[in-house]
């Protein structure tokens, strides 16, 4: 439960937490290193590091391209894990891995989870692994205190949310809308009722991701969600202005 405790603790001092996202090896590990540093220095609470996969089915154009370019550049899973370990050693915020199930499956579920434990990686987000599709994964994760972070979507029924809540831990990742990562989300009335359903379904903290792009979005989420997730936007920023631009951007989000 380390991740949950850690986040609860940070949440005491912040009325919304920030989780950011990077794709490992894109544009390069050096760039990743710099981006993470700036994120940490500017108060990010948690970073999900995506291990690239050749079939990023749930990702939109920006993150998909980052996945494929990283692999085209020769990125291997082993390097990603070494880099993750280094980050966890270097910075004292929470680090998670986000990737697709095949990467976990091929590495070995137990092996990967043990490696996370050893490297002080606190959670795993696997968008294409439903709670009932790998007992081994979930039992091992719980056993080793690595949070298997599960997902709510606007299409999830109340009933389904309960099931998901039971299987996951750490926090609940609420995708703001139908579709893939990257596009802007309307944080309107429907969204509010959806978030209320999420709240009713779980005691866990709620992270909201998909299309959260700027200060206004974060402001709109404050008081409703516990964690705001910035995904594609920082990748766009690094593509456009380089790693140096990240710090200011992050700093501006909650100010």
């Amino acid at each position: 439960m380390q991740l949950e405790d850690y986040l609860k603790d940070r949440r005491k001092h912040q009325n919304i937490l920030l989780m950011t996202h990077i794709v490992l090896g894109y544009p390069s590990f050096d760039a990743n290193r710099e981006v993470v540093r700036q994120m940490v220095e500017n108060g990010v609470d948690c970073i999900e590091m995506q291990i690239p996969f050749s079939e990023p089915m749930a990702d939109g154009p920006v993150i998909m391209k980052a996945n494929l370019d990283s692999l085209a550049g020769g990125t291997r899973v082993a390097e990603c894990l070494d880099f993750g370990a280094e980050m966890a050693r270097t910075h004292d915020i929470a680090f998670l891995y986000m990737t697709y199930y095949n990467i976990v499956f091929k590495y070995g579920e137990e092996q990967l989870i043990e490696r996370c434990a050893a490297d002080n990686i606190q959670g795993l987000i696997i968008p294409d692994l439903p709670p009932d599709h790998s007992e081994l994964f979930f039992s091992q994760a719980h056993a080793k205190g690595i949070a298997p972070i599960l997902i709510y979507s606007p299409t999830s029924s109340d009933q389904r949310m309960k099931e998901v809540d039971e299987a996951g831990s750490g926090f609940i990742y609420c995708v703001a809308r139908r579709g893939v990562t990257g596009n802007k989300s309307e944080l309107n009335v429907d969204f509010d009722t959806y978030l209320q359903r999420c709240r009713r379904a779980t005691e866990k903290m709620l992270a909201v991701g998909f299309g959260i792009q700027n200060h206004d979005d974060i402001a709109a989420l404050t008081g409703k969600a516990d964690i705001a997730v910035i995904g594609s936007e920082t990748i766009r920023l690094v593509d456009a202005e380089g790693p140096a631009a990240v710090g200011g951007f992050i700093a501006g989000l909650r100010s």
Partner: protein
Amino acid sequence: MTKDGYFGNWGGAFIPEVLHQTFKELGEYYRQAKEDPAFWQEYLDLMSTYSCRPTPLTHARNLSNHFGGAQIYIKREDLNHTGAHKANNVMGQGLLVKRMGKKRVIAETGAGQHGVAAATMAAKFGFDCTIYMGEVDVLRQRPNVFWMEKMGATVVAVKDGSRTLKDAINEAFRDWVTNVDTTHYVFGTACGPAPFPEMVSWFQSIVGIEAIEQIHTHHGRNPVRVYACVGGGSNAMGIFGRFLLENGVELVGVEAGGQGIASGRHAARLCGTDASPGVAQGYRTMFLQNGDGQMLETHSVAAGLDYVGVSPILSDLWEQGKVRFESATDDEVMEALDLTMKKEGIIPALESAHAFVQAFKEAPDLPADEAIIINMSGRGDKDIFTIADAFNDPSWKEFIIRRGREYSK
């Protein structure tokens, strides 16, 4: 299949949460349809009036005599409307979509056959239709793109990844998670998340159900072997399904050997040793992937076989030793195609020709009073550009060059 969509160690539904509800509904509609005899009857009526089911079983006497072994019978899925077995699957799903009350369908396509079939179904049922097709395939299968568009479908050329079938599938899923409420994804083969592998196989099972009755009429008893090419596995499951209930019928699936298994430029998942268990595109099966789990590029002269995964049901049958898997190289395929055209006046699709290759290898060693069946999944007209290239036909090239010049004016 078990209730969670597994076949032995294979299958499942590895889908993002946003699709959970839709798959639940789809699964229920499917199960209801399967339990409702009226549904299958409606399907049979549609296929016998809109397509020409039952498709014939042709006794290839000249080929049989040429090889001097078993009597070769050809199941003629090429005579389906749109020219391939793909029609069976799309029409069945079309009826299901009508029941689900959705108004839009999307589909992936490799060879373009499934795309044409899906666009045709959409026109017939009055659905909006978007087809996702890898850019590489759009370029090599332009005629099919032309017909899809003429039938009112929007064809999207997918420019990511290897720009072939698997990338078209990813893109179709991205559309689906976005438009899940209005849209049904007409998956084209016996792969993907449950219930697709089972559902597609169910619709295709009509092939084997007809074939066994036909071979009994013509030959008086079961064949000793049945051959089918294996891309995703739907035509193979279609003809194997019924024969799996019989004893003493050996089932042979033929994969794309491309430039030879040794070359690494192939799409052989269940024969050869290049594939390993994995989970992608929503299901667990044998994939052509590297040690990290990244999918590899595949190769085949037949776009429809050029795919990294294979039906989880076939992986299970392979593991159980109930189906034997072989491969045919691009060169062997062209030879078999040439022979079949000249001996029987029949033009198999490049995909189908893979099954012919293996049958031709084995027929001579089988007694002349036994029968074998080759599933001819589709016709080769669609492949004229590929086939003319493969045969390096000068007057065809000259014709295209002249046309090109006229168009350039």
